[in-house]
């Protein structure tokens, strides 16, 4: 918990940082050995008085590099917007709390252990003022204990697995994305509407995909479907065909699961190899990633997945986000259709943090954490809402379901559910290979 001795280091000049830290630690030690070490480093005391440092890691390399990189781009856009024009939330704002914002970012290589070390560094060595979450449930969940321990508020824009939030008493952290168990329920609905009777669920043996399966299987059964095959394949799987061979034998109407973009890719290619063509496919995360469609080309047509954002969604702040992003990353993106929803997710998470900070008016981790739990706001992501319960679990969002359909230059993203916002009718059954 922050105590008063800490505030002094906020206003001190850089040179006196060492002394105030020592003094604080001396006091802290005197207070009692019962205090866990994490407290010592993580409080207040930023890099300097006129810059607010925001720390995060993401997987810019490794198995989830697509996702990590695009999410980071969302962070970068937010930083850029705050510094340029004070961001989207306040009119004529001067930076954040009158200060510039700087991003301190590391590559965690999609490795949770590395992520933990990096957050420890951000908290204790770089002494960042604010924290943002990493990419993915695996790395995010792993970092929760140390962030909690340090008493720093944090938004997890890309942690949809709620296990840790449910099982532990987490005070400082919230998720700004819908829980995993809601991701592709619409695909199941579409199947049922079209007379589907059986479903196969194959997924990566990791936190998020497991959570997806755990959430969707009961839902499928409730809808009267029979689960004919369920399999968790290892993360370092090489050959997806062996997994799908077993699925093929059961001839299911719905095939869902996967893990990340890598999985969507491997599974789709394997499905083509073994000639698996059910009523509908639903791959989480990767299913609607532009990178996925780019890799498999027309094989993407008919594949569905969670679509948390698309350029044509009518969401609050979406146009500003879109324009700002295309301008900042004009070298890498020719067209908004190439943008990945993870950028929007990262950006939205930053906006939530921004709102909380503006509401509090200063860098006070406890107060910010409280704000994160109590605010409700609009964001350019999912259905445009952010609201969490006391556990920090997202309650207001439902993801859309997207599907790749034929377009002029190849597969195009269409939103097929919810019906009110749909841009096209879902294709059922799968068009075959």
């Amino acid at each position: 918990m922050p105590d008063d001795t800490d505030k002094s280091s906020d206003t001190g000049a850089a040179s006196s940082r060492i002394f105030s830290r020592r003094k604080f630690i001396g006091t802290g030690a005197a207070v009692g050995l019962a205090s866990t070490a994490g407290c010592a480093g993580g409080l207040g005391g930023g890099g300097g008085s006129d810059v607010i440092t925001v720390g995060a890691s993401s997987s810019t390399t490794g198995p989830t590099s697509e996702e990590g990189l695009t999410m980071k781009q969302g962070y970068e856009l937010w930083i850029d917007m705050i510094n340029e024009s004070g961001g989207l939330l306040e009119e004529d704002a001067d930076g954040l709390l009158g200060r510039e914002v700087e991003l301190i970012h590391y590559d965690d290589q999609s490795d949770p252990q590395r992520g933990v070390n990096l957050y420890q560094r951000l908290i204790n060595e770089d002494n960042v003022d604010l924290l943002l979450g990493p990419y993915g449930s695996t790395v995010s969940s792993a970092t929760i204990p140390i962030i909690e321990d340090a008493g720093m508020a944090c938004v997890m824009p890309m942690m949809s697995d709620t296990t840790v939030l449910e099982e532990r008493d987490v005070q400082y952290i919230t998720q700004s994305i819908a829980p995993a168990n809601t991701y592709v329920r619409s695909a199941i609905d579409i199947g049922v509407e079209n007379g589907a009777e059986t479903i196969a669920v194959v997924y990566e043996d990791a936190a998020f995909p497991t959570s997806v399966a755990a959430g969707h299987i009961p839902y499928a059964e409730e809808q009267g479907l029979e689960v004919v095959h369920e399999e968790a394949y290892p993360t370092d799987i090489n050959d997806y065909t062996s997994v799908l061979n077993s699925v093929q034998d059961q001839d299911p109407d719905i095939v869902m699961g996967g893990g990340y973009t890598e999985d969507a890719l491997g599974l789709t290619q394997a499905a083509e190899s073994v000639g698996l063509s059910p009523g509908i496919f639903a791959w989480v995360v990767g299913g609607m990633a532009p990178a996925f469609a780019e890799s498999v080309g027309d094989a993407a047509i008919g594949i569905t997945g969670d679509l948390f954002w698309a350029p044509f969604f009518e969401l609050p702040y979406n146009q500003e986000f879109l324009d700002g992003f295309m301008e900042l990353f004009s070298d890498e993106y020719d067209d908004p259709s190439e943008m990945d929803y993870h950028s929007a997710g990262g950006f939205a998470g930053c906006m939530v943090m921004e709102q909380a900070v503006r509401n509090v008016g200063e860098i006070d981790q406890d107060a910010i954490a409280e704000e994160l739990h109590s605010i409700e706001m609009e964001i350019p992501f999912a259905n445009g809402q952010y609201a969490v319960n006391e556990q920090g679990i997202q309650t207001a969002q439902t993801p859309s379901l997207g599907q790749w359909q034929e377009g002029e230059d190849g597969p195009t993203q269409e939103a097929v559910r919810p019906a009110e916002y749909a841009t096209a009718e879902p294709i059922y059954p799968h068009p075959g290979w």
Partner: protein, 292 residues
Amino acid sequence: MVSIALLTELIVIGLFLGAFYGLIAIGLSLVFGVQNVINLAHGEFVMLGAYAAFYGWALLNLSPIISLILSLPLLFAFGALLQWLLLERIHANTELTSLILTFGLALSLRNLAQLVFSANYRSINYLTESVSILGADVSLNRPLGFAVAIVITATFFLFLRYSDWGKAIRATSQNPEIAKACGINTRHVRMVSFGLGAALAGAAGGIAGMLYTIYPYMGLQYLLKSFVVVVIGGLGSLVGAVIGGIGFGIVEAIGTYQLSSNEATMIAFVLLVVVLIVRPQGLFGRSDAGEE
């Protein structure tokens, strides 16, 4: 349980897989046979072969098979170089020293690859159309990989049998002292065989690159699997490596289908340990295996 049609399907898949594993195992067995060294970096040669195939594909639009023409000589030269530079120095030392040396080599290569190629996953999208072979629906690149593996293996056996270098290698494998006494430059033989081992692994790597995901740490699993193959087939026996490879491929295909890939692999390793304890020389290996 399993119908005949299904069994046939699994055997076909297993055969394709097995030829591939056999190719990797031959290289490992060859090096052991010639100089009593277990090359823990063998998997890294597979990885390098895969990356060579990938870059040939991505940068030069070469089919992975064509790029073998370029990558094989390169890997051969690299292998021979490593032998000359590192292994020759500890040649007279114990088995353990070479084990630790190749271990260090594996670490270095793996991480160098990560530095140079980045940790991102790569894949080659080549000949992925589905074909049906004896009831098994597989992508076209699989039977192609099988064919390549068979051709290279056959070529290698012919080379060993009929060429001068092949004879020299076989002689050195059997008895280095006598080979030397007969005027064979055992040092050169070691270099050539290590280079060949690397090239064979690289060829398998090219096939792997075509079929599977490519990433810097991919070598380890192939090393471990080829251990199982080589131990069961018999360290030092090339025939054992091929037969063991095919057998392993079929068992893995069936095991993965019945259980899951994780469990199938786990059983493979338990089997490895059992074989090491019960019959360390495997099926075709030398009977002095397992002892100092």
